[in-house]
Every structure is written in structure tokens, then in C-alpha cells.
Amino acid sequence: MKTTRREFISTGGLLMVYFASPVLALAQYTSPNPGQSGKSHGNEFVDTWIRIESGGKVVISAGKVEFGQGIRTALAQIAAEELDVDFSRIQMTEVDTSYSPDEFYTFSAISIQQSGGRVRKACAQARQILLQLAADELTVTTAGLSVSDGVILDGGQATTANYWSLLEGKNFNAVVPDEVVVKDRKDYTLIGQPIQRLDIPAKVYAQASYLCDMRLPGMVHARLVRPPRTGLSLLRAETDGINSMPGVIKVIRDGSFLAVLAKREQQAVNAAKSLASTCHWQTTVDETNSDNISAWLKTAPAKTYPVTSRSSDKTADVTQTLSAEYSRPFLAHASIAPSSALALWDGNNLSVWSHGQGMYPLRGAIARAVDLKQDQVRCVHVESGGVYGHNGADDAACDAAVCAMSLPGQPVSLQWSRTDEFCGEPLGSAMTVSTQAGLDQHGRIASWKQVVWSGTHSTRPSGPDGAGNLLYAQSKDQPLPSPPLRSIPQPSGGADRNSVPIYVIPEIDVTKHLVEAMPLRVSALRSLGAYANVFAIESFMDELALASKADPFEFRLAHLSDDRASRVLNRLRDQSDWSNRPEGGSGEGWGMGFAKYKNLAAYTAVVIKLQVTDSGDIRLDRAQAVVDAGLVVNPDGVRAQIEGGIVQACSWTLKEQVNYRPGAILSKDWSTYPILTFPEVPDVDVEIIDQGDHAWMGVAEAAQGPTAAAIANAVAHACGVRVRNTPITPNKVNAT
């Protein structure tokens, strides 16, 4: 995509950049007119969300970003449904702090609940206003009016009025009231349909779709020189010779932050490589490494939080007590696209194009980190590879901003290397989970105790106060203070997400120990603590079922009072042909796992069928899942999220562990951090139970935990070996 000088224009003090590409065209959509209060884009204004545009278009601005999860398509479906316009009329804008609603982060699999609800209300209100305008124009009451693809009907007959004749290019000048009458679900024609994603054709035809496809005139290239792990100070670097290397524009050093800018990308790569060879980094004393981390977590200084405690007046007769301890190592987000960003500083205002998950929080953090006022910074989301949580995207955005501010008027494209990403991105925290349960004489669970040890799952740079979480802010000469340790409270929870079993158990006691200082940088990874907690609970449920001589499905069903949960399990039992499960110890294993995500979102049950060879190799044959996510906006979108979640969780569970020693992260590329390869991926079948009477629920993170447990349970079934620490490798299968 070529952008010419002519296409740079200045709008309202912000440098706007215009693109020829249809896909990225909306990355520069101009700000709507201010709402009634003069505030340009408060979430309360209808105009912030919806614009009736020329060419028969309706432009919807939401605050949730796309990273392949299909959110923009689902939101477009909701908007078209509520407005009664054809789906093809809807255009979704990118999230841009110069006009988009502020919906904080796109995370936690809650976009549909949050943004879906807001878009629905804004569109319902817009429709009412348009109907009133039509009624005034036609001198009728709204009672007999309806809408078909934006045309106003009176008594079912088309009138001359339509959305565009009534309001094209103009403002609604209205707020979205708290209560709006929305469309009845029985009248839905679009919601519930497997509509194809809006973004896919451009991606398969290689039209500009991604941040890396933005090429601005005069753009220069930046690369970083990073320590072998985060948090090490730069003691010495020889920058002199670097400045005279071909194409090098400058070397930027601020404390331990080190970057090179060059005319061509490879020149920046070469310069960064040469510069790296002159660097001396501080070494650290760290008693942990990837082998002892799960034990260390239990001894580290921590803040303790009671998660839940429920006791029963009837003291049950416990005849058998079992206990076990599970763990997972540090995991990397490991996007196929290393983090990158584009930034432009015009001397007064800073524009940053980023693939991070929250443009408003990022704006505040960058402003603080580089000493600007928030209104001098504009952040625009543009897609890149999937992020799966808080990876290096926000850091790269700030890095690009710092580089751009040293070169006014010239756009800077900053690309992290593969190794920058592995060694710099915040990892999913290592976790240890212990469980203990008492069984009564009927083989029912009388009591359950669970203890979780983990680092934090939340160090996002959320606004100015979170700026200290940015790598640049930590590395610069005058580092910003680290924000205080954050414990995400229940009901969603962080390390303790899904740590409370959903089963009917008279006595439950769950405690979280949040380790104060982790040896490696950590933050949110898809599903946070739910992966390790569900892995532990659902592995332990199988261990308890075995002790009670019960079938895994039967055992769980006997401890469930939630009908929707039981329905999902019963369905999966049939679907997976569970009654024909092979004999245990045959080398072929079938295992299952179940969870209600966060104990308040989608119900997901997974069966894994696999083979364990004599040498302990594990071959996944098949994954089968049944999901109840309430009202489903786009069933194919839900299916894709569950499929992808299962495959990614198979990878985490069988292969992944960030290896490190005190001085360095050793997992720094795909050869040292292998993930599931194509031949290792199982067949995946997903069935969605339609629960249209219930609220819509997020699914993006729902499959991670159940899949992990299903694998462990299948391995135990195949060969009798219970592996409680992921990754479940042939070594561990053979060790016992």
C-alpha cells in the first residue's frame, strides 16, 4: 500500500494518515462530529457508535479490537440485526482514540457481553430516533412504522423515507439511555447465523490487512537491542562504530533502552546485531530456574488471599482422603507475528499504530512514559498476528513512540525480532496447585481444599498509572515505579480463576498465594489461572473417580446440580461414544475435562482420544467438545474459537515450557520453544448447544483448561501414568 505525501493531512491538530487500501481505509476514518455536550466521543452518545453514511453505509465504531476472533463480524451482525439493515451495509472502524468509544481492553473473553450489549443498545436507540424522524416527516405516528433494510415502511408499505434520506452524514445528538427497548430474540434473522468473517477475503488475497502492510512515505526502520532476559541493566555499549554503519540514522540509548534506526530494515538488523555484540549486561542472582520453579513458588514471599470457604454443619464421614499437586511452567504467548508498531511524531502530537489489546489504556501509558499529555497522543489499532493476552504489543508501541520522538516528521516502523519477543514479552506465570479431597463411604466428595501459588496475571500498562509496566519505562534512565502487585478479585479472578470447583461439595476451602516478585516478567495469558486450576481440578476429579471406582462422566454428573452443565456432559458422552471407551492400559486413552469458564461463562466439555506408545510418545487422534455459550451470535465464530483454543491448549499441555536459567531465557526461538506442528494436531469436532434463552457468553478462553485435563486423563487411561506437571512429555510418562 502506497501512501503519498498528498494524503497526509492535518485534522484537528492530529496528523491523519490516509490509505488507499479498502481494508485499512477505516484506520483513518475521520472523527464523527461532537455529540451534544461537545465532547467528541463519550460512550454515552449514539453518535460515538453509529453513523449513517453516504453510499448506503452504516459505520459502526466499537472499542473492541479484532485479532482473528471475529469480534468485528459478530458486532456487525448485532448492529445490522438491531437496525434492520442488510449486513453488507455495515462497516466497522478500527479502534482509534481520536473517535472510538473507550471500551478499555479486548480481553477475558467478554467482548460479546460488553461491546455486544453496548452496540445493541446504541443501535436500538438510533433506530427509534430514525423512526421518530420518519414519523415527523410522514406525519404519522411511529406505531405503524417498521424498517426493511433501512427503508421505512408504513403499514408494511415502503415509504419515501429511509435512514439515509433522514440522517445521512448528520448527528443523532442523543445519548443512549440506560433502558432501551431492543429487538425480541424471536425476530432475529442475523444473530445466530454463521456469517462469514468480514476480514478474511482481504487476508487470503494479500490485500493490506496488517500493521506491517502500512508503508508510510519516508518511513525508517527501528530494531532494539535487548538483554537476554528482562530486568537486566545495560552496563556498557559501544555505540560509536555503529553510527557509521551503512544506512544507520542513529542509535538511541536511554538507560538500558537501546535502539537503532536505519533507512532500510536489514541495515537496522545488522546494526542491532553489531551493537548487541558490544553490550555488557548486568548479571543476576536468582535461585530459580525452569526446573525448580514450581517448588520455589511455594516458598516465595507471597500475599495470601482466601478465595472461598464453605463449611457444612453436618460433618461428613470421610472414609478416604486423597491429595495431589499439579503445576504448569511459564508459558509464552508466542504469536507467529513478533510485536511491532508504527509511530509518527510531528513535534506536538504523537500517532501510534499498534496491535495491542487496548488503545485507550495504551495511550495513557505511553503519554506518561514519554512525558506527553494524553491528548497529544493518538493510538490506533491495526491487526497483526494473534496476541492471546498481554504480549509484547504494548511495549513495542511505546518503543516505537520513543524512536519516533527522536526523529520528528518521520514515521518509524519498529519490529521486534523473534528473540526479542520470547525474551521480552510478559509470560503466563508458572503456577502450582495443590488439591485435597475427602470421600465419604458412598464415594461422594465430602470436602475439597485447594491452594494456588502463582505470580500475578495482570501487569498490563493500563493508563498513566500502569506506565511503569512498559518495558521502556522500566529500562529508561529515570525508570517509572512499578505499579503495585495486582490481585484480580473473584468472581473472575486471576491466579484463582476457576479455582473453585463447580461441583456440589459440602465443604470447600480455596486459598491463593500471590507471589510478590516473580523471577521472570509475567502477565495475562489466555484464560489466566483457569488453565492450571481446571487442569488440576479435572485431573483430580478423575483421580477421585478412580478411587470411587466410578466412571469419569458419572462421577461428575453425580456432583452437579446445574442442569446446563449436566446437559453439556450428557451430550458429550453420547457424541464421543463414551460407552465404547477402550479398556484402561491398552495404550489407547480417552479422557475428559469440563469447566464453566470463570464459573460464570461458557460451559465446555472436552474428550481427548490419544495413543501412548511404548516409548511414551503421545499421539493425539481426536478432540471432541460440546459447548453451551448461551445465545450464540455467530456459531461458526464460536466453533472456531473453541477449535483454536483446543489446539493451542494441546500445544501448551504436551510441548510448552519456557526454559531459563538465572542469566537468560533459553527459549528464544521456535527451535527452543517448539509448539504443536501440523502433523501433531488432532481432528477436532465441536458441537454447540443452542441456548438462545440465555445471555450470550464469551468462549475464547473456555477450552484451555478442559483440554489440558482431558489430555492428562487420557494419558492416565492409556498407560496408567498420572502426569501432574505440564508439559506432559514422553520423559514424564516414562519416569513413573
Binding site: 487470503v204 532500510r264 507467529i336 498476528g385 472456531a640
Partner: protein, 157 residues
């Protein structure tokens, strides 16, 4: 040094440092979007193109190595008006999440279908063993490739 080659049927002549990675030339000089930077280490496949019909990793290929050769990128395989069967099949099967790997998958599949117009599941999986997808779209990608093979009447197209 002047390097001449053909990209998507067009002749290109560049005066350039011969060590420049082909990926940079395609993306930054020729402004093609298909090949992507993923690792720069020949480990993921994101940067793949067809070089004389063979799937090749451009992040580790110096531009000098392609002098006189023919390159096809994802945009050269087809476009909205004249789509390649694989492109249509990827849309039909909605065979991507973030799609950052889609170039890698389609290019390698195109090379496979050239030599083996009617591959079985295992042959497809093996052919794509070095092409990474982090989103877990592989089950859909597999279906899309089979659909494309069938649509081409098993003659690869």
C-alpha cells in the same frame, strides 16, 4: 549490484545490496503483502513464496540467490476477480483466525498440489509440518486444502 528476476509475471530489476533478504525486497521495495516476517530464522514459514514453483523461505534467502528466477507470491496466485482455488477454499472454510500464517499455508499447499493434486490427510499434514499456526486453525486449513484439491478436480490447478 543489479539483480533481475520476475515476480508475479512482472520483470524486476533492482540495484541493491545482494545480501538483502528477499523478504525485505518483496515487502519493502516491491510493496507486496503476501510474505510476512515471522521469525527471520527459516523456522515458521510466514515468509514463504513460490520460487520456480517451490515453496521457499525468503527471510533467509539473499536477493542475489534469485537472479534470473521466477517468483510467485500470494497476491500472484490469485485475486478477488481471479481467485486461486486455495484462496476460495480458505474463505469457504473460514480457515484462519488472525491469518498471519495464511500466506505460509496457502503457498506451501499450492506447491503440494502442483506435485500431488490429490493428497491424503497425512500427506497434507506432512507437507505443512514446518508451517506454524499459533491460533490453532489447522483443522480448518486441512479442510480447505482438501476442498481446493477437490475443486480443482484433483489436478492441483
Amino acid at each position: 549490484m543489479t539483480i533481475d528476476f520476475t515476480v508475479n509475471g512482472k520483470s524486476v530489476s533492482l540495484n541493491i545490496d545482494p545480501e538483502t533478504p528477499l523478504l525485505e525486497v518483496l515487502r519493502n521495495d516491491l510493496e507486496l503483502n503476501g510474505p510476512k516476517f515471522g521469525c527471520g530464522l527459516a523456522q515458521c514459514g510466514a515468509c514463504s513464496v513460490l520460487l520456480e514453483g517451490r515453496s521457499t523461505r525468503t527471510c533467509v534467502t539473499p536477493v542475489s540467490a534469485v537472479n534470473g528466477m521466477k517468483i510467485t507470491t500470494l497476491e500472484g496466485l490469485g485475486n478477488e476477480d481471479h481467485p486461486h482455488p486455495l484462496q476460495l477454499a480458505f474463505i469457504e472454510e473460514q480457515a484462519l483466525q488472525c491469518g498471519y500464517c495464511v500466506n505460509s499455508m496457502i503457498i506451501s499447499a499450492a506447491a503440494l498440489l502442483q506435485s500431488n493434486p490429490n493428497p491424503g490427510n497425512d500427506e497434507i499434514k506432512q507437507a505443512l509440518a514446518g508451517n506454524l499456526c499459533r491460533c490453532g486453525a489447522q483443522p480448518r486449513i486441512l479442510r480447505a486444502i482438501k476442498r481446493a484439491a477437490a475443486a480443482s478436480g484433483g489436478n492441483g490447478s
